[in-house]
C-alpha cells in the first residue's frame, strides 16, 4: 500500500510544503492516519482520493502551524533565491522557479493548483477532495494561475533587466 501510493502522497505533500524534512514526516503521518482510520473507511471514494484527502488535510494543518509560528512559508530558501535572484538563475521556467512561485500562493489556492495542475485531478475530484463547491475550485484555480503568472512574469522581467544591465556594463568596460 505504501509503495503504491507514496508517489501520490509525495506529489501532494511536497507540492504543498516544498522540499523540507517536515514533508517526509507529514507523508509518514498520512499512512499512519490511513492505517488507523482503515476501519472507518466506507469505500465511498477510491483509496487514492481518500489518501490524497488525508495528505491535503495534514499539509494544510502543517501550513497553519507554520503560520502560527510565523515562519516563512518557503521551506527551501535556496529555491526562492534561485527564483527571485535573476543573477543566479537565467532560466525562469525551471522547476525551482515554478516551485518558488507555488509557495507564494495562499494555502487555499495552492491546494487547488496542486491537486488540479500538479497532480492532474479533474476539477470534480479536486472539489470532492477539498470538500468545496466546483465553482470555488474554478475561481481559486483562476486566481492562483493569475498570481503565478504575474509572479513569474515579474521575475522574468527582473531577469531581463539584470541581463541588459550586465551586458551594458560589459560593453562599457
Amino acid at each position: 500500500m505504501v509503495e503504491r501510493y507514496k508517489s501520490q502522497v509525495a506529489a501532494t505533500v511536497i507540492g504543498m510544503l516544498g522540499h523540507c524534512p517536515e514533508s517526509e514526516d507529514v507523508g509518514q503521518e498520512v499512512f499512519i492516519r490511513f492505517y488507523k482510520g482503515l476501519k472507518s473507511f466506507k469505500g465511498n471514494s477510491t483509496v487514492g482520493t481518500y489518501i490524497t484527502r488525508i495528505a491535503m488535510n495534514l499539509s494544510l494543518n502543517e501550513l497553519k502551524r507554520r503560520q502560527r509560528e510565523q515562519r516563512t512559508q518557503l521551506t527551501d530558501p535556496a529555491a526562492l533565491d534561485r527564483a527571485v535572484d535573476p543573477a543566479r538563475n537565467t532560466n525562469f521556467e525551471t522547476k525551482q522557479s515554478i516551485r518558488g512561485a507555488l509557495m507564494k500562493l495562499v494555502s487555499e489556492q495552492r491546494a487547488v493548483v496542486v491537486l488540479r495542475l500538479v497532480k492532474g485531478h479533474s476539477t470534480k475530484e479536486t472539489a470532492e477532495i477539498l470538500k468545496v463547491p466546483l465553482g470555488t475550485v474554478l475561481s481559486r484555480l483562476a486566481r492562483g494561475q493569475q498570481t503565478l503568472r504575474d509572479y513569474l512574469t515579474t521575475i522574468e522581467e527582473g531577469g531581463a533587466h539584470e541581463t541588459e544591465t550586465a551586458q551594458a556594463s560589459v560593453s562599457v568596460s
Binding site: V2, E3, K6, S7, V9, A10, A11, I14, G15, H19, S23, E24, G27, Q28, F31, I32, Y35, E93, K95, I98, R99, L102, V113, R116, L117, V118, K119, G120, T123, L138, L141, A142, Q145, Q146, L148, R149, L152, T153
Partner: protein
Amino acid sequence: MKRKPHKLLYRSLDKDLSPEEAVRLVDALDNSLDLEQEKHQLLSLRADLGTLGNEQFSDHFSDSVMDKVIRMQFAENDKVSRFSSLSVVFRPIALAALVTIAALVPFNMYIGYELEENRTEAMLALATDVILLEEMP
C-alpha cells in the same frame, strides 16, 4: 468588460464553455494579442506545473512508515495484554462474588417468606424493623 474575455479564457482551460461563450472567446483571442499571449503563458505555466507531479520521498520512506506501524502495533498489543492480565486476575474473584450473590438472594427470599417479611427487603437482606434506642432512666 475588460476582464470578461480573461475570465472566459481561464474557465475554458478547466470547463467546457457554451457554444456562444466559445465563439466570444475565439473572437476575443483574434482581436487581442495580449489575450493570445496570456493564453500561451497559461498553457506553458500549466505544462510546467505538471512536471512537479513526479516528486518523491527519500529511499527509506517506506521502511520508516512500516517501522512506525509496527511500533504502533506493539504498543497496542501491550495495552491489550495488560488489560487481559488484569482480567485474568480479577475473573475468579468476580465469579466467586457472583456465585455468592446467586446463593444468598434465594436463601434470603426463603427466610423472608418464612418470616412473612417484605420480600424485596428480605431478598436484599435489609433490616425491616426500626430499632429504637431506649431512653436512659
